[in-house]
Symmetry: C2
DNA sequence: GGTCACCTAGTCCCTAATGACTATTGCTGC
DNA sequence: GCAGCAATAGTCATTAGGGACTAGGTGACC
């Protein structure tokens, strides 16, 4: 197998390259960022690209797209650092062929890469089930987040910063009554009864991923 | 060098073992938890133990202590996954000989291990400076956290959960006036003017590390 | 042209939260 | 025993926040 590996931890990058090499695979390039990975794939046309999901701003997911576009024969397998496996569904939907956690032994990761190259879906059954099931159901406390408007996301940020209605109105450049209305709509949409609860909801369940990309 | 490596990512563990082995070092044991690392050190008496700091509940830091106790000739070098280098000072204070980030190349990590074994302090100068400087100065927004009482930490958790004074009183088993007093003292100590600001302070600056160990 | 979603702005009424206090109890250390 | 601190509980007055509305203006889409 000819492989491009992408991770932001140089240590893991090198070590993984070594481990894969020792098992008879050819690591044709190591990339520290998704952008580098895309270039490397364009240049080397590998069989598979092992891509860390843990890059800020969803750049990993968009990299899947680009890789699939410039080199359709290259399979993409996502590598996840944390137990946060909520993005597995999105990754697969975006064109990734596999998804594997860093807590797995190398043999298993190699096996997953192999399965991806053979055209199979390389995801643990349990993860796949979890990814297919939820689809943001109505009882999910975060289900409502997708209905927030841009302005409401800005208001949310003000709330997270601990601003009062007055401060919020100033920083948004509107009347306090307008800021008030936005807050109220926000609370109604989220089904909570105070801005503190809204903030708690976001900081507890709302990972960085919940935030719309164009609003940081 | 005879080395014990401890990390919760099996992938990194194996790969690192391989990489160190390829450079002529003997990895005598791989540990998935700090507890395993302590046992392994007790058994093998290695020259150095490479220990991931990223274990919940500060178990990594307490493991340093245990390792130094049961095997004083074993140096401990901390391995950090994230850019959160706030614990470097504590780690060194607790007896670690070094501290290195996963974003570093293996050669550098090997060099750090080597320096630790030679009895030198294996920390990047820039990190060391940052660790020595702050010492929670009075103008640090988190400086006041150390003066919070246990009860006030519990109140803080209630606030973070978005509870009202009433709910807080119920869950703490006290009168609402008492809960109110605790909230007020908390706000005063933190120098903020609303519970929302207190929550914002905690979720923005207050990493998981700020929380007292015995209260999660 | 009409509908719809969004941003804007306002009202009235009520509750929750805050500031600034005082005070009692119980524990700990000198 | 006494000082100091934490936890408990209470008071008063003031402000901020929230519920439930109405409504004008704008741009998008059909």
């Amino acid at each position: 197998m000819r492989i491009v590996v992408c991770d932001d931890h140089l240590l893991l990058l090198e070590a993984l390259g070594l481990a894969l090499g020792a098992r008879g695979h050819e690591v044709v390039a190591l990339a520290g960022t998704p952008e580098e990975a895309v270039s490397a794939v364009a240049m080397h046309r590998p069989d598979v690209c092992l891509l860390d999901v843990n890059f800020p701003g969803g750049t990993s997911v968009s990299a899947i797209h680009e890789i699939r576009e410039i080199s359709p024969e290259t399979k993409v397998v996502m590598l996840s650092a944390e137990a946060d496996h909520s993005i597995v569904g999105r990754a697969i939907a975006e064109g990734a062929s596999g998804y594997v956690g860093k807590e797995k032994p190398i043999v298993e990761i190699v096996e997953m890469l192999d399965r991806a190259v053979r055209g199979q879906l390389a995801v643990e059954p349990s993860l796949l089930q979890r990814a297919l099931r939820p689809q943001k159901s109505t009882d999910d406390p975060l289900w409502a987040l997708q209905f927030l408007t841009d302005r409401e996301w800005q208001v949310m940020r003000c709330i997270m910063d601990g601003q009062t209605t007055e401060e919020m109105a100033t920083s948004l450049g509107v009347q306090r009554s307008t800021a008030r209305t936005h807050v109220q709509n926000l609370l109604t949409k989220l089904g909570v009864h105070s801005r503190l609860q809204a903030a708690a909801l976001m900081s507890a369940h709302g990972s960085h991923e919940s935030w719309p990309a164009h609003l940081r």
